[in-house]
Point group: C2
Chain length 336, copies 2
Amino acid sequence: MAAKSNARPTYTQISQVSGVSEATVSRVLNGDDNVHPDRIKAVQDAVAKLGYKRNRAASSLASGRSGLIAVVIDDDLSIFSDPFWATVTSGISRVLMEHELQTLLMVANLNDTDGPVAHSLQGGEVDGAIFFQLHKDGLIKRLVKQGLPMVITGTPHTSNDFVFVDTDNFGGGLDATNHLFSRGCSKVSIITGDIETTAGRQRLDGYNQAYRKSGNVPNKRLIAQGDYSFESGKTAMLKLLQEVEDLDGVFACNDVMALGAIAAIEEFGKSVPHDIKVVGFDDSLLAQTSRPALTSVRQDIVALGEAAANLMIAQLKGETVEPVILSTALVIRESA
Amino acid sequence: MAAKSNARPTYTQISQVSGVSEATVSRVLNGDDNVHPDRIKAVQDAVAKLGYKRNRAASSLASGRSGLIAVVIDDDLSIFSDPFWATVTSGISRVLMEHELQTLLMVANLNDTDGPVAHSLQGGEVDGAIFFQLHKDGLIKRLVKQGLPMVITGTPHTSNDFVFVDTDNFGGGLDATNHLFSRGCSKVSIITGDIETTAGRQRLDGYNQAYRKSGNVPNKRLIAQGDYSFESGKTAMLKLLQEVEDLDGVFACNDVMALGAIAAIEEFGKSVPHDIKVVGFDDSLLAQTSRPALTSVRQDIVALGEAAANLMIAQLKGETVEPVILSTALVIRESA
DNA sequence: CGAAAGCCTGAAACCGCTTTCACAAACCGG
DNA sequence: CCGGTTTGTGAAAGCGGTTTCAGGCTTTCG
């Protein structure tokens, strides 16, 4: 193995070629000021000539900064049956890369506060962590205490000591419900998502507020609980149809349940949107391809990821940051 | 900052507590045999007592192994509108984690053979790379030449020097088409996906072979081209309906196009499955939630990711590996 | 019973980069 | 023109592991 092909250049070679010390090479490569322009030039030329690429391991070891940001996803498969999180991640990844940071993906069971993920995170392997969909916060609280910069995607319901980004779920619920009333509905029910999640509760709150302002009479019996699955949407809708008379509008807290609801309505012998109007949430692919095409609340998912990444970067710079709430837009199609 | 909270234990402390040299600590922690059981025990106790966690940067620097595997995704947004890749990634990530490897996610434009991703990959920052959906292979060829272990998800069409995993697209197309004939169809058309991709071509090949063996008469006019989008499926189907008489079966190369086709058929005044039977591919969420529910070719996507990860691990161990083809299963629902 | 072979072990070099520290040179006001 | 700052620089000490190397101790076998 003469002349090893993987013998990549180091500061030593740059130093020799450019005629400056390794210390100065480091300064130039890290954008330290206070280096004479001539030397900067010399180093840059040498770098270009040798095709130098920084060795991250060495750099991390010496500086204590790894350049890695963990994106931690709960090992709940449901997350991956939904393009939502993948899209958020792509937004995160792109922004991080622009700032020379790498995205370390960790799929793990977050209840396991002593698993390999918890170890990596606490072990200082990463410079920061972005969490998705926070359920249990034991691990996270510990990490905050350790001073690890963190961003949470989704509103944490346990505490607001965390930096987070989220869609305006309340506003989305409000808009969806208002839209149904403005379309002439007078008895509008809601199929909620998992009430354990803040997103689910906030959408419900939006619905309630819209109801109160509409001049119509809200009623607990109009509220059915689902869990974001197709089946739960269908079941909830059937129950509503049987229990509530003159129902003429439904706000389902995601598109999948909205489709379940539509299936139920049609099985029940009524039609959408003629008899009952339906609004979903997410504006996913499903909303566009279903028949009737689904009116749905759109959230800018890529922007959500970008916002998360930007909050992380701001923290890394030592800036104090505020939570970010992104607004939604109602996309009107056939179902309402 | 007295007693820094982040002053995590190192070999030095373990060495002191356990009374063995740092070299031996390393041997124990790396599973080197030839260490006296008593010493192993002593080290393990010290590790447990001190709550030691390995410093990856130091370890990488010294050993030349980073423990990082890149998952490289083409910056084509379409990838992220489809849960497919997210699911593959989750499979990869889980298997890698079981082997103490981390998943580094890179979303990038692969045509850019000189961008940051190309740099990282060539810079030895990762121990291996898993690519999705290979279009251009310039970068990849270079990496192979450098000896970077690689796995490609999807059959590369340019060369078979690569290690890859893929679904049995040919078999899936074959099964789908055979099923339509067995259901009594006699004139079956296909709506292809992007013919540029090998997956698209292989599914078409499967269709052709099934046709040849069926005793029915194949015909070029039965082949319509789509691009995996809903609209393309609809457009292609309308064209087929207008040009081909007595059409009674359609194999759409993914579920989204199948739904487009169903929409077209119903607009045309015919019904599914009564007049025309439809089979999709992917067995996605769409297939389960659409009405009529879609008969579709299922591929085990998580297994695809796991296979990719396992091939990577095998390469890392120095084993010679063969490409892996995963079989499909036809899931029969209402549409055919 | 002695020599060759094998097993375990610790000292020390090293991985490539960052950062402190000391010091020379250039600059300043008085 | 001199003590005192500023600037710019290189030598050298790490960062926390891994790995080579040589040597002490046991075995094994003729």
